[in-house]
């Protein structure tokens, strides 16, 4: 057995001793450019597109200039694939293996990964092959520009579709007729939500399409666009599936990196190291948790929160004992429970305390004139601000309001405005992509300067009018 295998044997035994429960792992040792390829594509086997080339170029350049370094990359699948950078020292690899094991434990046990396909490596490879055939059949340029259009709206999926659809269906049938007597005194509350959706003068109100505003633009367009050919529908649904696969990773980034950092520290403390190794390890760890004034480091934030949870459940204060009935000694049990049940939003919402915000010196900042200034230090506002930024994985919430607008089959999208305006330059450049997918005039309603405004694109030019 090689040194690496001996080390891995020890590390994984230690991890199991701590109670980590992870998929089997395939470690691959790769040269830098391969790891950067995988990093750029998010996967070792994905379709080709220039945007990945752009990401790859950026990562590779940073590596070449020694500005950044990916030491590892883990793929959520069963078994997990992990890629180690060739040229890592033994001690670097040890830390990374411990880190990787914790990621694999997280993938296996966090609830938000319950529905992700564990065979994504294979399905992505199959899709990549089909895309290549499309290129061969319909021409590279055509396929490329279609992918350009599809990825322009790739974030607009609905990961909780199954749950939401079922509950809404009952509800919709319930208030099909408004004049029916409500079943409970509170049932009229349901209709507040969508009073402009249903114009219910009589029972046969005009049918809406879609019946409920649809958040999954990718799905709606794939199913309902009259413009798309079969190969294009396939590309749309592949890109949607891949987004759904990556979604849980995006919504648990802080937790997942925090969890892995927590465990690489814990496990490495138990492994015998000589002086030089200890120093190298400390250097590497401090590089990982380095903070920045303009970004939050998910490794640091997640790690600190996990450590804090463990501390507070292990040795609760008198007040906590009394108020929450927390007996103490439950630190480890609690962090395992958190790792299974939460995502970044609930993680911050439930466990980012005043003490942590102060200790870590977290703040919100915003642009004022030419300066970016600290705008908020009050802990609850900071916590809430961070949560707001993480909502919907930081993407604007946009729905299909009407798929037959003006009775001419036009597409009417609506942005659920939540206080932050959209980037108008980007919006105007994105609508033509949506037009490519839909084939008819597309509209997007949003708010600017607190007034509702409608952007439209009809295939030739864009327009904007205040409503």
């Amino acid at each position: 057995m090689s040194c690496l295998e001996v080390a891995m044997e020890k590390i994984s035994a230690k991890a199991r001793e701590f109670g980590l429960d992870f998929y089997d792992i395939f470690f691959e040792i790769c040269p830098a450019d391969i790891i950067y390829t995988f990093g750029a594509y998010g996967m070792p086997t994905r379709f080709s597109h220039w945007t990945f080339g752009k990401a790859y170029h950026k990562m590779k350049t940073q590596y070449d200039y020694n500005l950044g370094r990916i030491y590892e990359m883990v793929i959520n699948s069963d078994p997990c694939y992990a890629f180690l950078l060739e040229g890592n020292s033994l001690i670097q690899n040890k830390l990374i293996m411990a880190h990787v094991i914790a990621h694999c434990d997280f993938f296996k046990n966090n609830i938000y990964f319950k529905n992700t396909s564990t065979a994504m490596v294979e399905s992505m490879a199959a899709a990549a092959n089909r895309f290549r055939e499309y290129e061969f059949k319909y021409g590279k340029a055509k396929v490329e520009s279609f992918i350009d259009a599809a990825i322009a709206i790739q974030e607009h999926v609905e990961p909780r579709r199954m749950i939401r659809k079922n509950s809404k269906k009952d509800e919709a049938s319930k208030h099909d007729c408004r004049h029916k007597k409500p079943e409970t005194p509170y049932d009229d509350l349901w209709s507040l939500d969508d009073k402009d959706t249903f114009k219910c003068d009589t029972c046969d109100h005009p049918r809406k399409f879609p019946t409920e505003p649809e958040k999954d633009l990718m799905l709606f367009i794939t199913q309902n666009s009259k413009e798309l050919e079969d190969w294009q529908r396939d590309i749309m649904s592949v890109i949607r599936q891949e987004m759904l696969y990556f979604w849980p990773q995006m919504e648990t980034k802080i937790m997942n990196e925090g969890w892995a950092s927590y465990w690489h520290l814990r496990i490495m403390r138990e492994i015998e190291l000589d002086e030089a190794e200890t120093i190298e390890l400390a250097k590497m760890h401090s590089g990982i948790v380095q903070t920045s004034r303009t970004h939050l480091n998910p490794y640091t934030l997640g790690l600190k929160i996990f450590e804090d949870i463990e501390k507070r459940w292990e040795n609760p204060t008198e007040e906590e004992k009394e108020k929450y009935g927390r007996p103490g000694g439950e630190g480890k049990q609690k962090i395992f429970e958190v790792r299974a049940m939460e995502n970044d939003i609930s993680f911050l919402r439930n466990y980012l305390t005043k003490e942590l915000v102060d200790d870590l010196d977290l703040y919100l900042f915003k642009k004022m004139g030419y300066d970016w200034k600290i705008s908020q230090k009050e802990w609850e506002k900071v916590r809430d601000g961070l949560v707001i930024n993480l909502t919907n994985c930081s993407f604007p919430h946009i729905v299909v309001q009407d798929g037959d607008f003006n009775k001419k089959g036009e597409l009417y999208l609506k942005h659920y405005f939540e206080g932050v305006e959209l980037d108008v330059f980007y919006l105007e450049k994105t609508l033509p992509h949506v037009y490519t997918l839909w084939g008819k005039t597309v509209h997007l309603e949003t708010r600017l300067d607190n007034k509702p405004v409608l952007f439209s694109y009809n295939g030739e030019k864009g327009s904007k009018k205040f409503l």
Binding site: P31, E155, D371, K373
Partner: protein
């Protein structure tokens, strides 16, 4: 011991080129985007003023991956201080936009355009793709035509100094292999191969370009910048595309003088303006040094047009004299913040010679069209 639940392997990745292939496609798109934005890029300060670095950064917007997103500048963002941050602390300042200057790159929040690295040579190649000296004629003076020797053929006979060693050795190996005794041994006379040359004559037209620039007091930093941008690319273009082009640099205010290239691009001056002075100097130089029989002669003059009005008629006369001897005379007028009606351009409207070209530049993006207009070749020359 627990069952092995991991595998460590090392594969051969040498054929894995996916990232590289997509990167190349991306680079192609970058080049296309640059081509589309040449008008803006041509007068980028970072390029004109570049300090001899080979690689310059050019900002391009069309390579963004557009999607619906929040306005970054209107959002609040999370950050982490070193323990002593206070409300109101400035954590970052955007660079203030100077005149026509692009946003700087770096670590600032919300950078949203793509910056491509490109070498000045590559950029020059794109800019010059369709440019050429107009009305270029074959002048006399065949003695200037360069004679060059090119080894183009390999034969069995020749002179000893021209033995083609590589081919000869290949012949030996081939013969030995055929005889069933492979290896490199025993060169026979049949194996010898000789290089043979051909003489080619490269006829090149001689050309001289007179770069004339107004450096009077009315030429502000913007006007000078525009004129120098134009001449920067012109000089580069002439040196890239032609071997035999000479460039004469002339600067003037009320008086004109010949300068070195360096002075021309760096020195300022002041005082009034008498454009005819530079035309006169140009005529003198042509007469003394560049006979129109032997040279294709071009004159390009940049000014803000703010000339002594008593001198305007003189200018027309001199331009007409220049047109007699030149293949082309170009006049570029940079429209500054103050608008004059009695500019040189208006006076030049009288000139009806097709060899005279006049352009107006209002802002930085006008430099590229000016280059294109002055250096567009006629169809048959392409």
């Amino acid at each position: 011991m627990a069952k092995t639940n991991f595998v460590i392997s090392r594969e051969d990745w040498s054929l894995h080129r996916k990232g590289e292939i997509d990167r190349q496609r991306h680079q192609e798109k970058v080049r296309d985007a640059i081509k589309k934005n040449l008008a803006d890029i041509v007068s980028e300060e970072s390029i004109i003023m570049h300090d001899g670095r080979k690689v310059v950064k050019v900002p391009i917007r069309s390579l963004d991956e557009f999607h619906f997103r929040y306005d970054f500048g209107k959002q609040q963002h999370g950050g982490q201080g070193d323990g002593n941050s206070k409300q109101g602390d400035v954590i970052y300042s955007d660079p203030q936009h100077g005149q026509g200057k692009g946003k700087g790159a770096g670590e600032e929040p919300g950078v949203d355009y793509y910056e491509a690295d490109i070498t000045v040579d590559e950029l020059a190649e794109m800019i010059f793709e369709d440019l050429g000296l107009p009305n270029l004629e074959q002048k006399k003076k065949p003695e200037i035509a360069s004679e060059s020797v090119e080894f183009k053929d390999v034969r069995k006979k020749g002179i000893a100094s021209n033995i083609d060693r590589k081919r000869t050795i290949m012949e030996v190996i081939k013969r030995n292999a055929l005889q069933g005794n492979p290896g490199l041994h025993g060169i026979t006379p049949e194996d010898l191969r000789y290089k043979t040359w051909e003489t080619t004559y490269k006829f090149e037209s001689n050309a001289v370009v007179l770069a004339m620039m107004d450096t009077s007091g009315s030429m502000g930093p913007f006007e000078k910048y525009i004129a120098r941008s134009f001449f920067f690319w012109m000089v580069r273009f002439l040196r890239t595309k032609y071997n035999n082009v000479q460039i004469v640099f002339l600067a003037h205010h009320t008086e004109a003088k010949e300068t070195t290239e360096e002075e021309f691009f760096t020195k300022g001056a002041s005082g009034g303006t008498r454009c005819s002075s530079v035309y006169k100097l140009a005529l003198e130089i042509i007469e003394k040094r560049y006979s129109p029989q032997d040279y294709n002669i071009y004159g390009f003059h940049f000014s803000d047009g703010d000339n002594l009005s008593s001198d305007n008629e003189n200018c027309v006369k001199n331009i007409n004299a220049l047109l007699e001897v030149c293949n082309m005379v170009g006049y570029g007028e940079i429209e500054g913040p103050y608008y004059y009606t009695s500019t040189l351009r208006n006076t030049f409207k009288k000139i009806q010679n097709p060899k005279f070209t006049c352009v107006t530049i209002r802002d930085k993006s006008g430099v590229y069209p000016a280059l294109k207009k002055f250096f567009s070749q006629t169809q048959e020359q392409k």
